[in-house]
């Protein structure tokens, strides 16, 4: 919500705060699903603006955090092959796998390159015809179409040495799994704005219809988030379950049909394993048969070590909203952003990393 004077912003923020305090007569728990929201909430000090009755919990919306160790171990195994170049977004580099990380492999000579866009991988593939270039395709519906478009561009360019190692995941099935499990009571949901920019409003219809949970698609400015909390508290107070879209400037009801068409051409829905949530039906994306030659797992041989989890790490429970970072015995001692044990601490969007950076939970939430 840009293009307003500071005075207007303050006035609206004060209005939202006042209304939230007036309407929240009993405790409510709202979940922000998206890791980018988690960071924005901490950065803007939103929690401190809310009355004690309104609790915000973080959900499973950090792609790096929900990627299970097995995927990392596979990426590490590929990186050890002499003729492989790994391309990846930067936040995957330090995520610990079962016994190593991409950063550790890089330090011992593996060719691992950080890219800003998956398209950068194609230039690397063209410049290194004797190598296999594998892009670590991680991310939700915002990012998945960019990987799909890159596969189409590789096909068009006639590149025979570009592959994706796909771990894309879908937000709505994860929300369904969380609500079905009922492990954490959620009274309202703040939905991810940029995932919604792609998928639109319809895929969230089930939240109100089947689970009676109000939800708001919202942006990332402090006022967007405060406005969304207000809309949720207002719905809860009125006993209404509905989907509101506070982020219409970026999220048309139908999302981005062109991006969805590209996505659908390359990827099909598949069961996927999430850290903390287990295997969720039809919650991931697998490369379709027509594009199998670009699928690293289908096209290239690899031997992966046996997957192990760190015994003390409670990242899985944090991702489900049933534990807070401070509940973990490792938090802030054995596990810090400098020396992370679990993925919730390694990603800048991880709940543990955000807690640590913005005050280690030294306030009442």
């Amino acid at each position: 919500m840009k293009s307003r004077s500071r005075e207007e912003e303050h006035r609206l923020a004060a209005y939202f705060r006042g209304e939230i305090a007036r309407l929240a007569t009993k405790p409510v728990r709202l979940m922000e699903v998206c890791g980018t929201h988690t960071v924005a909430i901490f950065k803007a000090g939103i929690r401190q603006l809310l009355p004690p009755e309104v609790e915000l919990v973080s959900g499973p919306g950090c792609p790096v955090c929900v990627t299970p160790n097995g995927y990392l171990d596979t990426a590490v195994a590929f990186s050890r092959q002499a003729d492989v170049i790994i391309t990846t977004f930067g936040d995957m580099l330090r995520v610990p796998g079962s016994s190593s990380s991409l950063a550790a492999e890089q330090a011992t000579g593996a060719d691992i390159r950080i890219v800003y866009s998956p398209l950068d991988s194609l230039e690397i593939a063209a410049a290194n015809p004797g190598k296999k270039v594998i892009f670590l395709a991680v991310g939700f519906e915002t990012t998945a179409p960019t990987a799909a478009a890159t596969v189409l561009a590789a096909e068009q360019a006639g590149l025979a040495n570009f592959y994706v190692l796909s771990a894309h995941k879908l937000v709505p099935p994860a929300l369904r799994a969380l609500l079905t499990a009922g492990e954490v009571q959620v009274d309202g949901l703040l939905l991810p704005g940029h995932v919604s920019a792609i998928i639109g409003e319809e895929p969230y219809g089930f939240l109100a219809r089947e689970y009676g949970v109000p939800a708001v698609i919202t942006g990332f400015e402090p006022l967007d988030i405060l406005g969304a909390v207000y809309l949720l508290v207002k719905r809860i107070a009125a006993g209404e379950a509905a989907l509101d879209n506070e982020y219409r400037r970026v999220v048309p009801p139908a999302g981005n049909p062109a991006a969805l068409a590209v996505l659908d051409k390359v990827y099909g829905e598949a069961d996927a394993a999430w850290r903390g949530l287990g295997v969720i039906p039809a919650s991931g994306l697998a490369v379709k048969a027509a594009y199998r030659r670009f699928d690293a797992l289908a096209a290239l041989p690899v031997t992966v070590e046996e997957t192990k989890e760190h015994p003390g790490c409670r990242c899985g429970e944090v991702l489900r909203g049933v534990a807070r970072p401070a509940d973990c015995p490792l938090f802030g001692t054995a596990c810090t952003p400098e020396k992370p044990v679990g993925s919730c601490m390694v990603s800048v969007e991880g709940t543990c990393a955000a807690w640590y950076k913005y005050g280690a939970g030294r306030w009442q939430v």
Binding site: M1, K2, S3, R4, E8, R11, L12, Y15, E19, C34, G35, T36, G61, C62, P63, V64, F89, D91, Y116, S117, P118, L119, D120, V138, G139, F140, T142, T143, P145, T146, A149, L152, A153, P192, G193, H194, V195, A197, I198, G227, E246, Y247, R248, R249, V250, V251, P252, N256, A258, A259, V262, S347, E349
Partner: protein, 73 residues
């Protein structure tokens, strides 16, 4: 990871656009937003334009909130 930044399209050639963010220009793909036009603000994510930023809708959302606030005073 779903971070996206708004940028203005200053030029386009086929499915590549030149966008400007805070005075810096860069190339982005329009494969996911083929109908984007020069002069529009778009959201950029991982080297792709992924959605148009609708200034009119932005104004409408604000006006709606303003009305709510005014109504209460």
């Amino acid at each position: 990871m779903c971070l996206a930044v708004p940028a203005k399209i200053v030029d386009r050639k086929d499915l590549m656009a030149t966008v400007e963010v805070s005075g810096v220009t860069r190339q982005v793909s329009l494969m996911l937003l083929p109908d984007a036009k020069v002069g529009e603000f778009v959201l950029i994510h991982a080297g792709f334009a992924i959605q148009t930023v609708d200034e009119e809708e932005a104004k409408r959302t604000m006006e709606l909130f303003e009305e709510m606030a005014a109504h209460e005073e």
